[in-house]
């Protein structure tokens, strides 16, 4: 078992427009990319579970081979920068991904 942080070269989150936060996990090592894809540690359902959101709030989940990347997007509870909202740019939402255990 390895942790996602040991396999990926970039794990980031960022606002995508005012209503979404998008997550990118990029791999410089092609084998690591294939390993994570095959492990199914990242699926729309797993992501919804990890972040405790209803599955329909994970609005997009794609693998993107040219960048060796897995990408998913979560709809925000309220638009960026609303009162009570703590991460305008959505750039600190990726931390829970770091320690995900990947089999294989």
């Amino acid at each position: 078992m390895s942790k996602l942080v040991e396999l990926a070269s970039t794990i980031r989150s960022k606002n995508a427009g005012v209503d979404h936060i998008t997550f990118d996990i990029l791999f410089s090592d092609p084998a690591a990319y294939e390993q994570v894809k095959a492990s199914h540690v990242l699926t729309p359902e797993r992501v919804a579970g990890l972040y405790h959101v209803a599955p329909e709030r994970v609005v997009r989940f794609v693998t993107f081979d040219p960048a060796r990347a897995i990408k998913f997007t979560i709809r925000r509870d309220q638009p960026s920068g609303s009162p009570g909202e703590g991460d305008v740019m959505g750039s600190q939402q990726y931390a829970p991904l770091l320690d995900l255990e990947v089999s294989g």
Binding site: G17, V18, R75, G86, Q92
Partner: protein
């Protein structure tokens, strides 16, 4: 723009405004110095390297929704004026010396009419100061007339919501303080056709700023819009990660070659491909006014150590031309109070302490106009409801009380009431009865007013220029 030679392209660029049937379009080099003009200052060294390469235009976006709803709603800039003027001065001086167009979009962070006027006034002053020869400046305004929009919606026009939002309602418009329409390439192309040397655009889609001169040079839409997509964040498309360094894009009918102008970065197939997905939902499709860029068949090939070529992007025109509307509305005045907690007993029962504060607030303030949010740093202030860690592991907690109310007086009282009650929270068994909280200072900190995004919608238009106003003037 009709230049006779260019050291970076094998053939001279074509003058804009001619039909592509006259002759095959040649390459064109665009210099992108920053992903957000004025947000932090442009790195000058790599910019000057780019200028020395003789680009055919210098293009920079100066705005974003990333900064939250306040700057648009309040119609204020988010960047220091000195940084904006630093960047404008650099680009203006270089572009006038080269004799090539300077295209700036989303002026002054939000692209409101204020931002366009502010940049135009600065450039008029600067031109006089530098004594540059006479030039033509276009200003393109994109503020939305809320009354006209209200009439349009009341008459039954459909304004679709983006990203899962319902269609625009009259209530949404009533809740909006300020709105802008996001222009595509067409208004900028019109300015180029009218001979503009300097274009200051209101809110504009980033990619369209770059696509406009390429389309005017006769280059195909597939590569033109894709070039804009790759170049709009400047050095974000290169590695290692760095902001505000210049990138040069050499665009030809079938390809774009991207090259960083800093000496320590590289544009690699991976760095360009990963940028295609940056702050977007979809790495295969970039939706813009009038259509989308299909990136499904893009091929990324290294030309050498520092440059990468991309081919295979396609432009798919939309059936109807739509323009995005961005709007923000004032929620109320806002105030903050900062509280620290060190007592492990209170930390373990922090939810009860918050509940106590809420109860005291509710005794005095009722109604939707009054909001208090408790940002508990050390617990879930950053991730809120998305935070999977439930157990508090910190030996101290910081609580930022954020209060919103209709007036300054009310919000000061509201924040004070919510904050001071951490001092008096009645937690059973508490030993430190002289006070269960540490105040950074016993005061309420005034904050900027609270706003929220009220519009993230698209409206159909008959003419891409319909929601924008173009003015052209001679300067100097």
């Amino acid at each position: 723009m009709a230049r006779t030679s260019s050291p970076v392209t094998s053939s001279p660029p074509r003058a804009p405004g001619r039909s592509s049937t006259v002759s095959a379009p040649r390459g064109m080099a665009l210099l992108s110095p920053t992903g957000h003009l004025g947000f932090t200052p442009i790195e000058e060294a790599s910019f000057q390297v780019g200028v020395a390469r003789g680009p055919d235009a210098v293009v920079a976006d100066s705005g974003s929704c990333d900064i939250g709803p306040h700057p648009l709603g309040a119609d204020e800039q988010a960047s220091p004026r000195t940084w904006q003027e630093h960047d404008l001065r650099l680009i203006f001086t270089a572009a006038r010396r080269l004799g090539v167009p300077m295209i700036i979009g989303s002026c002054s962070d939000t692209g409101t009419d204020r931002g366009v006027r502010q940049y135009a006034a600065y450039l008029r002053r600067l031109a006089g100061e530098l004594g540059v020869p006479r030039f033509r400046m276009a200003t393109i305004y994109s503020d939305v007339d809320l009354e006209a929009l209200r009439r349009r919606v009341a008459a039954g026009a459909r304004v679709e919501g983006l990203d899962g939002r319902p269609p625009l309602t009259l209530d949404d418009i009533d809740a909006t303080t300020h709105a802008v329409a996001v222009m595509g390439a067409e208004p900028i192309r019109e300015a180029l056709r009218r001979g503009a040397d300097v274009i200051l655009a209101g809110r504009a889609s980033d990619a369209s700023l770059f696509a406009a001169p390429l389309l005017e040079a006769g280059l195909p839409a597939g590569v033109a819009y894709y070039a804009g997509k790759v170049l709009e964040c400047a050095s974000f498309c290169a590695e290692p990660f760095a902001g505000k360094e210049s990138v040069l894009g050499v665009v030809e009918p079938e390809q774009i070659v991207a090259e960083p102008m800093s000496d320590y970065q590289r544009c690699t197939p991976t760095s360009l491909a990963s940028h295609a997905m940056y702050e977007r939902l979809d790495p295969f499709r970039e939706v813009l006014p009038g259509g989308y860029v299909d990136m499904t068949a893009c091929r990324y090939e290294a030309v050498d150590e520092r440059r990468t070529r991309v081919t295979g992007s396609r432009w798919v025109p939309a059936e109807r031309y739509t323009v995005k509307l961005e709007g923000a509305g004032r929620v109320g005045e806002r105030a903050l109070m900062i509280i620290g907690i060190r007592d492990p007993y209170t930390i373990a029962r922090v939810d009860e302490a918050v509940a106590w504060s809420r109860r005291k607030v509710a005794e005095r303030f009722r109604g939707p106009g009054y909001q208090v949010h408790y940002h508990i740093y050390g617990k879930n202030a950053v991730m809120g409801e998305l935070e999977p860690v439930k157990e508090i592991r910190s030996h101290e907690l910081g609580i930022v009380v954020e209060a919103v109310a209709p007036t300054r007086d009310e919000v000061a009282e509201l924040a004070n009431l919510a904050g001071r009650n951490f001092m008096y929270a009645r937690l059973p068994g508490l030993r430190g009865t002289a006070g269960a909280a540490a105040f950074l200072s016993d005061e309420v900190l005034p904050a900027r007013a609270a706003y929220r995004w009220t519009m993230n919608h698209v409206v159909e238009v008959d003419d891409p220029l319909e929601l924008f106003r173009l003015e052209v003037e001679e300067v100097g």
